[in-house]
Symmetry: C2
Subunit: 267 residues, 2 copies
């Protein structure tokens, strides 16, 4: 099913939109010689407000697309897709979601009380608590959906008194339960990290699942690292809508003058 792939083939990264670029940035720091093929399903985002059935259907099509483009491994950077669509998904290639690595990191760090924040669908799926309970059965876990965080980040209000008031409301129930570790269960949330850290206090550890999955992928593929060369690897970005807007954000997040963009149609 995976066709002919080699160590020269890119790592495939899929997200519903631009959020997965934080995973790309983290992967590039750890595996600077690996080319990446990215797919952002911008025509159908956001996934976090859709049912599990629909997110599963979209995820399978998107992963098939990457496999069809001969990637050597797939990283599902979207928390919602990782939470609801990966059970039983076998594409004959290494495949990672962000939930398992994020949960493992939180289980390692916590003294006993873990908070999870994410989209409505991620929280409803209970995927993080299930993963955490498998790893450390005694953990106390409290979850909170934060549906306004993604639109606030998209609006560009990262450091803003309104965003702070909303974050305070969402985080209050977690603070009452005295969490010591907080999982940022959505790729958009690391952009709110300074504000969230200020509200929960310096002693609460924040787990960025983009960083965690990059670490997992790097240790799995690192030994069998791909091409080595003096020229940097070529990354390629496919989106289902709005390549111009995506390109502007990708250049900013990745700090590159040019990125290779392609508009694709997905049914």
């Amino acid at each position: 099913m995976a066709g002919e792939t080699s160590q020269l083939s890119p790592i495939g990264v899929f997200d519903s939109g631009v959020g997965g670029l934080t995973v790309v940035a983290a992967l590039r720091r750890r595996l600077p010689d690996e080319p990446i093929l990215y797919l952002g399903d911008t025509a159908r985002l956001p996934y976090g407000i859709k049912t599990a059935e629909t997110v599963r259907r979209y995820t399978r099509r998107n992963v098939d697309f990457l496999v069809g483009r001969r990637v050597r491994a797939v990283v599902v950077a979207c928390n919602t897709a990782s939470a609801v669509a990966l059970d039983g998904l076998d594409v004959g290639l290494p495949l990672w979601g962000v939930v398992e690595p994020g949960a493992r990191r939180a289980a390692d760090l916590s003294h006993g009380r873990v908070g999870i924040i994410g989209t409505a669908s991620t929280i409803l799926s209970d995927a993080y608590p299930r993963a955490l309970r498998r790893l450390r059965p005694g953990l106390e876990i409290v979850s909170q959906a934060c549906p306004l965080f993604v639109p606030l980040v998209e609006e560009g209000w990262h450091e803003d008194e309104i965003t702070e008031a909303i974050a305070r409301r969402y985080l209050e129930p977690l603070l009452e339960r005295q969490i010591d570790t907080l999982v940022l269960g959505c790729t958009h949330y690391p952009l709110l990290k300074p504000l969230i850290q200020r509200l929960v206090g310096e002693e609460v550890r924040l787990v960025d699942s983009a960083e965690s999955v990059a670490e997992t992928v790097a240790s799995a593929l690192g030994g069998a690292a791909g091409r080595r060369g003096s020229t940097p690897p070529e990354h390629h970005f496919c989106v289902t809508d709005g390549p111009e807007r995506f390109g502007a954000l990708a250049r900013r997040i990745l700090g590159e003058a040019e990125v290779s963009l392609e508009l694709v149609e997905m049914t």
Copy 2:
């Protein structure tokens, strides 16, 4: 193309999600004997953050679906779709968007200064200002995208100090220009009407495009009204994702104990 339709055929109403239910409610008040076939494209919402090309593609498929189900007329309840996807769209049936009726109502009411609020895509399309300038060339027009209003309504924070602070920020530039009429250019916004009216002041007239389009449809079809009977007409609701959640909202907005629901797939 429209197949066999008759005066017994339903009126087709399409929206990206639940917002168009306000149009259904307004239509039912004016045409209580007309059956309605509704299509909510909940698997791909929101449209207001997508490019015009993608919204055009989705709209054509959705309108084709309604035509294939033998509706006698089509109402595009979604402001974004009305703003960017109706030019040159001919399905051989009467077809109305919400922009033209909303603009006409605002042109009738205004003393000279009109404000428009809507999604990012609706505002970017400039469709309301263009329609207004055709109707009354001398009007002063000021537009403002309010991307957080839809998620705030979805979160259920209709009357809330945070929503008020956000609305204040969005509406300030309109108030500085001393608008006398404000078009609520998104089907979600009527749910924020009391809050918006309070902020802009009682002397500013609010135009609800759901009401305006219902009036237009009623006067076009009213003379040739459909079936008359002692039993109420049967309405039917198709959605592309999450029929349970949609059904709960539809029952609440329409005040009915049961609604006829169907999950459909759209590519």
